[in-house]
Symmetry: C2
Subunit: 236 residues, 2 copies
């Protein structure tokens, strides 16, 4: 804790006055009281972003799905399990937020209904799990975006830039961080990441293999720059 | 490590000469490279059994699904992900094992096929996940049981003893540990457990709320007693 507080003192407070809302980790969508659908997200990227932004002076709310990570110091951590719970927590924080980074790997689908009791093998003769879409959190954020800067992530296994650019445009994002999760040194449950940052104005920056901590600071640098740009653009 | 080794010296070596094969944790059944089906098992019970048996002089092989737990000292740990991988690891160890405890919460179902690439929302218009049964590890153990003592677990949310007794008989188990995972202080991701131990001879013992460490020793006590009983019964 002393080390962490010393880091804050030694770091430029270029995010002072901002309130970052960051989501992290996977979500779990329940099939019954013991079974669920989930994904490999470790939460490392979102937690690194929360810690880095706090260090740079932002107020930070971290909405996190189930992870094994400790709460970053000085960050308002809200733990949730499902996509629906994550949406509720995001919407509750959104009015106060000035920056939004959606680093969570939210499940796209969930079972249409959750069984109240554990399903028995014998009950499932022709087993098939009917799925429905989970609420689209990014679209709901985009719908009331206002002056906020909003960043998304695209973790893909093929046609990375195409999928990422499409997502950026559909969701009205300012930036999207694209990474190919099949690359060694990238993606889920990995301390490093190899990302490309796509901007709304069409720019694409390919970063080298970096720790998630360095990726977090690189991304926050871009947000600070965008904020400056906006301030300049709005001058009469 | 010194503490752990001291514990071994201070503990009755009543499992010396035995080779315990214990399974632990959940399994993950992949839908695509990033998504999976899983369950809430933490692995605590299986890891406690492995450590307790090692302390009492057994050679121990621990076949574990994905957990956040460290490897117990002196235990041969084999990490696996899916039910199919767990079966392979169990069958490879089974010939050498004299005691088998299946504490893992193996997925009963898996997707019929795993997609090679991450599925896109747009690709899944009428989403439904076709499932198939995973291999039944306990039945395969039962099929070549020999002189081994075999223990299963039944984690249920309703009609606990009925389900557990049925499972014990169908799988030819010597003991089954039944617990209602909906009870406070019991079940998955919990340091304590409230269990009933059902014997093949019809006995049922209800234990109080105990740490999983204490439940592990209680279960190993029953195995030692069964082993003695068998030795007596086989006297001419």
């Amino acid at each position: 804790e002393i080390f962490e507080r010393a880091l804050w003192l030694l770091t430029s407070q270029d995010l002072a006055g901002e309130h970052l809302l960051v989501t992290a980790g996977p979500t779990r969508e329940r099939i019954d009281p013991v079974r669920y659908l989930s994904n490999d997200s470790s939460g490392l990227m979102g937690y690194a972003l929360a810690r880095a932004a706090r260090q740079r002076g932002a107020q930070v709310t971290l909405v996190s799905g189930p992870t094994a990570l400790p709460a970053p110091l000085g960050v308002n951590l809200r733990r949730v399990e499902s996509a629906a719970q994550m949406l509720d927590a995001v919407l509750a924080t959104l009015p106060a937020a000035t920056l939004v980074i959606k680093a969570a790997a939210v499940a796209d689908y969930r079972p249409c209904q959750m069984a109240a009791q554990k399903l028995k093998k014998q009950q499932m003769a022709a087993p098939s799990l009917a799925l429905e879409k989970t609420p689209d959190i990014l679209s709901q954020i985009a719908a009331c975006k206002g002056d906020r800067l909003v960043v998304g992530f695209a973790a893909e296994t093929e046609r990375l830039l195409e999928h990422a650019r499409d997502k950026l445009e559909r969701k009205g994002l300012d930036l999207i961080v694209a990474n190919d999760v099949t690359q060694a040194g990238a993606g889920f449950e990995c301390a490093t990441n190899i990302v490309q940052i796509l901007h709304a104005d069409g720019r694409c920056e390919a970063l080298p293999c970096l720790t998630k901590w360095a990726v977090a600071h690189a991304l926050l640098d871009r947000l600070v720059a965008l904020r400056c740009q906006r301030a300049v653009d709005s001058q009469p």
